[in-house]
Every structure is written in C-alpha cells, then in structure tokens.
C-alpha cells in the first residue's frame, strides 16, 4: 500500500489552478459570442444576444475561407493518411539501415517552428517560380500532417506485425488479402484517429499557411486579419467558436477511438 495516497493540499491547489488556467480562457470565447457590445471587449458584457450568429451566417466574406479551409484540410489529411501509413508500415518492419534518420525526417516538420517550414516553402516557391495556389497550401499542410498519422499508425502496426499477420499468410492469404482482411480492420481506428487529428491540425493551421497562401484566405487567416484590424468583433467571436468546435470534435473522437491502447492519440502534437 502507498503510504501517502492523498496529495498535499498545496499540490492539489497548484494542479487545480493550473487546469483552470488552461480552460477558463476558452470558455470566455463562448461568453463573448453573445455580448451586445460591438466595439470593445468590455467585461462583463453589458447584455446577451443571439443575433451575431445570424449576422455571421449572412456575411459573404466568411464562406469562401471556410470552404477553402475544409478543402485544404480534407486533401492534406488524405495525402497524409497515405504517406503516413506507408512510412509506418515500413518502419514497423525489421530494422534497416537509416531507420533513425527517417524518423527524424518525419518529425522535423513539427519539431522545428512552423515559421521555418513556412519560410522554407516560401523560399522554394520563390526559387522555382511556383505561383501560390490551393496546392501550395496543401503542400505545407500535408507535410506536417504526415507525422500525426504516422504516430497513430506506427504503434498499432508494431502490435500487429506479430503473429496475426503471419497467421494470415500461413493460412494461404497473399499480402493483399492479409492487408484487407487482417491489417486494415485492426488498423482502422488508429488511422481514423490519426486522420481526425491531422484534419484538426490542418483546419486550424495559420503560421505555415500565411507563407504559402498568397492572396487566398483560409478561415484562420481570415480570423487573423480580423484580430489585427477588427471590423465586427462579435462576428469574429462566432467564427472563433466555429473553428474551435471544428477542431475539438475530431480531437475528442480520436481520443475515444484509441482510448485504452498504449498509443492514445494526441500525446505528441
């Protein structure tokens, strides 16, 4: 038995305060979306109203960035799923030469600050004379999404690569049948979780995007512009809630999909 299974009061208070610090600011966004005050961030709000949701809905300048963000996130996630799964499949096999370097290469795009990824891509587009487009945004997003899918898939692959794959081959299935009937059903939830996290990460990304988007606006870039030069503050609040929910839901889903395994999603963003 542990001799002191109860935490000291100071520690409990410190932990509780730290968690409050992490969560209260996000809750405030929800409050501000209902404020009647339009020009300042006055607290407490002088009154509450639902009208900003309607105003935001009717603002024509919000929809194109939303569509672009969804489009970029979907394409980047699809690319990252293919590339991340391939590399996870290779890495879970026997040790081979250069294995450690490859893991470093996969990690680098999120280990180095986003501004470096962004500025590098910007330099490359400049050197090669590539014009900005939706695809230049996707190029950056898919690159840092690969590691998210990889992280989720590699642990599951490692567990799988043992005897059930051998059992399938042993019973006469070829490699493709084994992938379809044995690997995919067992890998599915890890891939779904990885895909959702990658989607959330891409949907929300702003730093790399500002370097690769040119004149186009994703929803986070739209928000950033509103932050720097506010026009209708409560509308921005409503958009913030939309962005928050669009990232929150897949992340929560990813957690529940991989819960209980050794590879719970989200440990390494």
């Amino acid at each position: 038995m542990r001799s002191d299974s109860r935490a000291p009061l100071g520690l409990t208070l410190g932990a509780a305060a730290g968690l409050l610090f992490l969560h209260v600011p996000i809750l405030l966004i929800f409050l501000y979306a209902f404020t009647t005050e339009e020009r300042t961030y006055q607290f407490p709000p002088p009154g509450l109203t639902l009208k900003w949701f309607a105003v935001a809905w009717n603002r024509a300048d919000i929809w194109p960035p939303l569509y672009l963000s969804l489009q970029v996130a979907a394409i980047s996630t699809a690319l990252a799923l293919v590339l991340g799964t391939l590399v996870a499949a290779a890495m879970s096999r026997a040790k081979f030469f250069g294995r450690d370097r490859i893991s470093l290469l996969i990690l680098l795009p999120i280990a180095l600050p986003g501004i470096i990824t962004g500025m590098s891509l910007r330099s490359a587009f400049d050197v090669m004379g590539i014009p900005f487009s939706t695809w230049t945004i996707v190029l950056g997003h898919a690159t840092f999404c690969i590691v998210i899918v990889f992280n989720n898939a590699v642990a599951r692959f490692r567990r799988l690569s043992g005897s059930i794959v051998e059992a399938s081959l042993d019973l006469g299935a070829n490699g493709f049948q084994t992938f379809r009937h044995v690997i995919l059903p067992n890998l599915g939830s890890a891939l779904l979780a990885g895909g959702m996290l990658a989607f959330a990460l891409s949907f929300d990304e702003v730093i790399v995007t500002t370097f690769t988007a040119g004149q186009q606006s994703t929803l986070p870039i739209w928000m950033l512009n509103e932050l720097v030069r506010p026009r209708q503050r409560p509308v921005t609040n409503v958009v913030a809630i939309v962005v928050f929910v669009t990232t929150f839901v897949p992340v929560l889903a990813a957690y529940y999909l991989t819960r209980g395994g050794s590879e719970t999603a989200g440990g390494g963003k």
Binding site: G162, S163, I164, E166, A167, S168, L169, D170, L171, G172, A173, N174, Q177, H181, V182, P185, N186
Partner: protein, 330 residues
C-alpha cells in the same frame, strides 16, 4: 517413400548469430515429430524455416521432395498452430476457422459448413459465434488447431502448443493431439522445451543444442541411449559420469550415463559407487536420494515403500552393468 520434410545442411545465420547451423533432418510422412531443446537452441527457427517465415542462409529444405526455397508461406500447404494462437481478434470463431477457405475463394455456405465440421473435430460445436476474447486458453488453442487443419495441410507445425495451458489441461490435450494425429494421418511437427511432452507424444524426437541437432531418435533411444552429455542431461535427469569413473565401472574411457531408476541402494563396502547422502526429495511415486560420491553428485530413485537412508549416511550403489550407457563424448 519420400520424407515429409527434409533438411540438408540447413543454416540460418542472423549476422554473427548462428540460430541454425548445418542441420540435417528427415521427418517421415505421417509421423509425430518433436523438436526439443532449450530456448535459443534453434528449434523454433527450424519450424519457421518449414513454414517459410524464415529463409535458410545455407542448405536446402524439401517438403515432400519439393525444394521450398522459392515458395512463399501462403503457397506452402503447411499450416501452423502459433504459440500465442494468433487468432484474429476482429473475427468470430467461425470466421477464424474458415479464413483459410475464404482467401481461397470457397463460397460462404460451403466454408461455414466446413468450419462447423472442424469445430466439431476439436469438440467446440456451437462456439462459432463467439469472439476469441470470450474463450478460455484451452478453447482458443482448439480454435487455432481447427483453423490450421481446415486447409488439410500436408504438414502441421505446432509451436509450443501446450505451453500456455495449466498442467491438467496440458495432459488432456497431449492425449487428444496424439489421437487426432493418428486419426488424420497428417505429419505433425511440434516444438517444445518440455522433455516430458516430447517423450510422451512424439514418434521421433530431435534434440537441439546451439543451433545443431544433438541427436535424433525414438523417445526410447533419446532417453535410454543419449549420445552426448547434453542430451543425457537435458532429456530426463541422468547421472552423467566422467571418463575415469566409466573406466572404473568397467567401460571405455568415455563419458557415460546412468539413469536414477537404474540404480539401487546397497552396502557401502565393496560397491563400485559409494558416497554420502546429502538430500532426500520425496516425489510421491518414489524418493530421490542425492548422494555426494567423491565430488560427483549422483541421484537414485527409490520406489515408494522401500527403506530410505538417513541424510549423512554412507551408502553404496548397485546397478545392472547393461544399464551403464557409454556416450560418444570422450
């Protein structure tokens, strides 16, 4: 008659590690063959060489006379019961058993019927809808067996098949496996580190040591006439005697072995072997008397009901000279 499996100078080296090193083996068709040895002795690698999950770095493996070097595991009509059973966790028992038929394109109804047949063969009628996680260890093992047999393999490989079961279940399964093998006539090759299991089930036993086969023979040969000190020591528990003692007992200047049950207690005076009793170990059916004879530890099995010496007493040992088995080791 061609052998079911034939190893000709087979090696499997992993870098500097010689997991299997120049093994020659012939496994007769229809036999129950055991590969016995301590862990790391190369027996499991040999099994994986037959199934195709390892490739030899030297030598040849023939299955029913056909060279297997270019045949991948999925095209070998050889199936395996894995040590941890390796049941597919996302399929029910019926789909697990029918898997081998499904990937060969057998229609659903036909393979379901065949799966039920196999389940009844291993006495698991009515378990088809369960998930592997809902079964006991013994039941999972039967499912693994049914799944491996559904393809009617020419050779069935079993990797420590009873290792995860408790003692009582293990003994029951030993009899059952033996009966099943007799009934189906399929060649069974099983890997074990348990000498009792190997001796009681197999027709022939190969004893592995350091990637090499130390001896192949019937259980009686391997137990009664070990060729090397290693075999004498690993199979059963023998009194291994060095060359000078063998010579004193009238044999040549080579190592020899004497089984504990071949020795009888006798008076110390005039006995060829004598020593001091250091321990008595009650085994139920008899008592093991351990004797320190001039530095060499000797064990004698005294059947129940016979008088036992006291610890510290000096006694002699008598035996039938025909039971002194002289080995190859000089």
């Amino acid at each position: 008659m061609t052998d079911a499996v034939e190893f000709v100078g087979v090696s499997r080296h992993f870098g500097p590690v010689r997991a299997v090193d120049g093994v020659d083996l012939a496994i007769a068709e229809g036999s129950f063959f055991a590969m016995l040895g301590p862990s790391g002795s190369g027996k499991t690698t040999c099994l994986r060489l037959i199934s195709g999950f390892e490739k030899p770095t030297g030598g040849q493996i023939r299955i029913f006379g056909e060279e297997s070097a270019r045949v991948p595991p999925n095209l070998r009509n050889v199936n395996t019961v894995f040590q941890d059973y390796a049941l597919f966790p996302h399929m029910n028992v019926r789909d697990n058993v029918a898997y081998g038929l499904m990937v060969k394109g057998v229609p659903r109804a036909a393979r379901a019927a065949r799966a039920e047949e196999m389940l009844s063969l291993v006495k698991l009628d009515g378990y088809g809808d369960r998930r592997p996680a809902q079964l006991s260890g013994g039941q999972r093992q039967r499912v693994a067996l049914a799944r491996a047999l559904v393809n009617e393999p020419r050779v069935l490989l079993l990797d420590e098949p009873l290792g995860a079961l408790d003692l009582k279940l293990r003994e029951a399964m030993q009899d059952e496996l033996k009966a099943l093998q007799k009934r189906l006539g399929i060649t069974f090759v099983f890997v074990t580190h348990d000498q009792g299991e190997a001796l009681s089930m197999a027709d022939r036993v190969a004893v592995f040591s350091d990637g090499k086969v130390a001896q192949v023979g019937t259980p009686e040969e391997v137990y009664g006439r070990p060729r090397t000190r290693f075999v004498a020591d690993f199979v059963g528990s023998s009194n291994v005697l060095p060359p000078d003692v063998t010579q004193r007992l009238g044999g040549p200047a080579r190592w020899s072995s004497l089984r504990p049950e071949s020795l009888r207690l006798a008076a110390a005076e005039g006995a060829a072997l004598a020593g001091t009793v250091t321990a008595l170990r009650y085994l139920g059916a008899g008592t093991r008397v351990v004797i320190d004879g001039n530095g060499a530890e000797l064990a004698v099995l005294v059947p129940a009901g016979q008088a036992l010496p006291a610890v510290g007493a000096r006694i002699g040992l008598a035996f039938d000279p025909a039971m002194l088995h002289v080995m190859d080791d000089a």
